[in-house]
């Protein structure tokens, strides 16, 4: 077991235990709901961030979120799969969509890639509503059954949703951190920096770009399915909107691009600010606030909050280990 992997596991343990403890102490339903939301959308942001790590900045991530949600709900409805299995199996469909979109966009980078992925989401929406309207109930969408078995008291349902979302978020974290620290992660970084040179070093650019898109599709689809079976209990074509494609980018940038911890921290911080703002200001004002924060982060802290937090933590740690009287250089 490498040092990096041990570090990942240690962080994962903290990431799981702290919120699990919190569950034992906090009984306010709205706080649990907000945190459940954070866990689910941290998976979504994690997915966006992984794809971005390979130099592909997607502006159409809602495709995966939506297709994952529809796939899972349809699996439950038509094949009678239990929802818990359906979310895992259903996410294979958005993984395939990721491969298809990735293949279409292989030659594109930066904002060309962003543009086309955004556009593809509009096409996916039309396909879902028109071509597959008989299956998807068109604009009305579909109701999503509960993730946990029927008959449980509501409070237990909320607790279970919370724990399942938390567990999956931590699992996604370990998976993504492992990918980033693996051979694939090295390839992603090289491709991110310079595709031509990466190929010149022997990196199979197509293969790794597609791999990132498939993995990203799977995770985002999983988040979409989880969301519709727990929080919204419904899925409709509105999910393929611009907003749902922008949120994961916001979370990742705020937390720290291209680190596995960043999206989680970012989702938590942005979401808490958002919930706070919604209660004080109106909806429009809150979005203006979030937009302004994003602009400030991009201009002043382009690397995001996590590197800042990590640096501060290691400074504190270093000070503690140092004998008194010696100041760091």
């Amino acid at each position: 077991m490498t040092r990096r992997f041990r570090r990942t596991l240690a962080i994962a343990a903290v990431m799981f235990l702290l919120p699990a403890l919190l569950l034992a102490m906090v009984r306010e339903l709205f706080i649990l709901q907000i945190l459940t939301f954070v866990f689910i959308f941290a998976i979504y942001a994690q997915s966006w961030n992984l794809v971005a790590h390979s130099g592909q900045f997607s502006l159409g991530h809602a495709s995966f979120l939506g297709v994952g949600a529809y796939a899972s709900v349809l699996l439950v409805q038509h094949l009678r799969l239990p929802p818990a299995a359906a979310i895992l199996v259903g996410a294979l469909l958005p993984a395939g969509v990721g491969l298809a979109i990735g293949g279409l966009c292989l030659r594109l980078r930066e904002w060309y890639f962003g543009m086309v992925t955004f556009g593809v989401t509009a096409i996916v929406q039309v396909l879902v509503v028109e071509q597959f309207g008989w299956l998807t109930n068109r604009w009305d969408g579909l109701d999503a059954p509960r993730l946990v078995p029927a008959g449980l008291p509501l409070e237990r349902v909320a607790d279970l949703n919370y724990l399942i979302a938390l567990g999956l978020m931590v699992a996604a974290y370990v998976a993504v951190a492992s990918i980033m620290n693996s051979k694939a992660g090295l390839a992603f970084s090289a491709i991110h920096d310079n595709e031509l040179v990466a190929a010149g070093c022997g990196v199979d650019v197509r293969r790794y770009r597609l791999l990132a898109m498939a993995a990203g599709g799977y995770l985002a689809g999983l988040a979409g399915a989880l969301n519709s079976h727990t929080l919204t209990r419904h899925v409709s074509p509105g999910i393929f909107g611009l907003e749902d494609s922008i949120w994961p980018l916001l979370y990742s940038i705020a937390g720290g691009l291209r680190t596995p911890e960043g999206p989680i921290l970012g989702t938590l911080v942005v979401r808490v600010v958002w919930e706070w703002a919604l209660r004080r200001l109106g909806g429009f004002e809150s979005l203006v606030l979030i937009g302004s924060l994003l602009a400030l982060v991009v201009i002043f802290v382009p690397r995001g909050l996590y590197p800042l937090a990590a640096a501060a933590m290691s400074r504190v740690g270093a000070r503690r280990r140092r004998p008194a009287g010696v100041t760091p250089p």
Binding site: L104, L108, E110, G119, E130, L294
Partner: protein, 294 residues
Amino acid sequence: MILDPIVLFQVLVWGVVIGSIYMLLATGLALLFGVMKLINFAHGELMMIGAFLTFLLASRLGVNPYLAVFASMAAVGLLGVAIEELAFRPIRGTAKINEIFLSIALILILQNALARAFVPYFREYAQIRTPYATRVFALGIVNIRYDFAILLGLTWAIMVALYVFLFHTGFGRELRGTSQNRVASMLMGVDVQRIDRLAFGISAALAALAGSLYGIINPFSPYGGTLPAIKAFAVIILGGLGSVRGAVVGGLLYGIVESFATFFLGGSWRDAIAFVLLALVLLIRPEGLFRGTA
């Protein structure tokens, strides 16, 4: 389906009208890309702010919308200059991707600030009312709305003015020079930051014009700018990035294609057509259909 030539002609007219709006949006984007190699994803929001200002002037103060357009263009032009100055300037030279992120922040800010400003006036949609809304004139066997004729006249007058500015003034020459070779222009003593501000201002003003015209022929909402702007991005990719000629031809053509495609395929395809086209072109000819600079 029986194809009535009168209907087809009206579909064509609508295509030219909506195409002119795409043309204005795409021209602004192409100018901006030419000079700064920048894509402002919040272009559609500037467009809608322009529509809203024209709407306010027309409905509150009773100004003729076709005059109010100019005030709106000036105001949004200044807003564009401010955005360049306060937002894009500080991140110039950092990773290219930061510009996309910043544009997205601007979308959130402008869109929702506008939506907030909308609240007291109407619920979701507004339309700019002109004094000629119900007037038509006969062109052969079909009737054409007065508004369409004025709108086309205004658009082309502005495009000619832009052409004269770009090709027959010193400022315009500097702008075109910067678009071709930024470093060389800098070395020649051109104040490229001033050119950046100018390009951003013109681009924003054209967006305001596009938005106002859009608001005259369509009901609009604060969120209505995103799709037209995205289509204009598609147009400038199809037209060859930074090519104003490509933007003009591409914008018009796109409007016509969209109008016919919507007519034949049905409304829900309207917005997806742009991307089907875009995807096809990128697969076949990634460098765009036209190539060149302003």
